[in-house]
């Protein structure tokens, strides 16, 4: 499918001319605005319900070493804070079970303890969230196709 789409990967944006970069950013913003028109009721991964409609379900764990010992990372969640805390706990359980961070488990566990406290104390994560939006799992320029003028022609690799 990649080959059928117009444009080539943006890769290093510093290689673009100032005009191309401005065009890239303007058209990227326009694409993001389009994506912002689609809203969801929860935090999670996308899946199809029994009727074939798109819905929010469990988050897919794309890591080689699954933290939770299964192929998902929980969900749907009512907030990003709930998601972060669930997944931090899942990571910590996996570290204790020896399935995540086979080497350097002690340091990794300490880092998780610190980050869990920071999430619990973070005021920005305690704000009420009602609507949720689609996020690309890898926001690097490698996944963006651009034409000769720098305009965005496609956003790829949503499965990463």
């Amino acid at each position: 499918m990649y080959e059928q789409l117009p444009g080539s990967p943006a890769h290093d944006l510093d290689d673009l001319s100032p005009e191309q970069l401005d065009r890239f950013i303007d058209t990227y913003a326009a694409e993001a605005i389009k994506i912002s028109s689609v809203k969801f009721p929860a935090v999670g991964g996308l899946c199809l319900d029994d009727a074939g409609a798109i819905t929010v379900g469990k988050m897919v764990d794309t890591r080689e070493s699954s933290a939770a010992g299964c192929n998902h990372l929980g969900g749907p969640f009512k907030s990003t804070r709930e998601r972060y805390l669930y997944q931090i706990e899942a990571n910590m359980s996996a570290i204790k079970a020896g399935t995540l961070f086979r080497y350097g488990a002690h340091r990794a566990y300490l880092a998780h303890l610190e980050v869990r406290d920071l999430i619990l104390g973070c005021a920005a994560l305690q704000e009420d969230e009602q609507e949720f939006y689609l996020k690309h799992p890898d926001g690097t320029a490698d996944n963006i196709l651009i034409d000769g003028s720098g305009a965005v022609s496609a956003l790829l690799d949503w499965e990463w």
Partner: protein, 196 residues
């Protein structure tokens, strides 16, 4: 691939890593716009992020511009849930070198409880010059943080786990090869002595 038509998704292909999240996270500055030294603690808006803010404002979306201004909380947490999370050289160094900025961004109140670090050690943590400097700072952080979470039962378990793994590794890489070398030397000695 996600295809949008009339404000709804009409095609959804190879999407299993995509997810839904809050507005600040979904539209905060993407990775391509982050400051060059983000993981060394540079939390100022990059020139690309400023351009993105201006682009959203020009297109009438001040709410999305605000997301870019306030994206740091989620960007700092992303490595803990990302695909390269489990590589020690990936996330741990990113976390430790941006740790001070992380505390300031996520929970400024936690700074008052911060253990006192040697200013030179902190400097090297923010701008780790060499792997040796970084390792020295990591060791300092490890000792101090362990004291803070002394009562955590999981920590004792993980420490024991690390110890057992280290022992198994040293047996396979140091003790067993050394024993084998000594056995061969002894055999050779006996052979020479026998000839004499």
């Amino acid at each position: 691939m996600v295809s949008l038509l009339a404000n709804s998704i009409n095609h959804l292909l190879t999407f299993h890593g995509a997810y839904t999240t809050c507005k600040a996270h979904a539209f905060g500055g993407p990775r391509w716009a982050q400051p060059e030294h983000f993981w060394a603690g540079d939390m100022t808006l990059s020139p690309k992020e400023i351009k993105l803010i201006e682009a959203y404002e020009r297109q009438g979306r001040t709410d999305l511009a605000e997301c870019v201004r306030n994206a740091r909380v989620h960007q700092l947490l992303d490595p803990f849930f990302g695909t390269d999370f489990y590589t020690p050289s990936g996330y741990l160094h990113e976390f430790l070198s941006s740790r001070h900025a992380m505390r300031l961004t996520l929970d400024p109140g936690s700074i008052s409880e911060e253990f006192l670090l040697d200013p030179e050690a902190m400097k090297s943590a923010l701008h780790p010059g060499s792997p040796r400097e970084m390792e020295a700072w990591i060791q300092l952080w490890e000792i101090e943080t362990e004291k803070k979470y002394e009562g955590d039962e999981g920590l004792a378990l993980v420490k024991e786990l690390d110890k057992r793994k280290w022992e198994a590794w040293s047996r396979s890489k140091i003790v067993y090869p050394l024993q084998e070398m000594m056995r061969r030397s002894w055999k050779r000695c006996r052979k020479i002595m026998g000839r004499a």
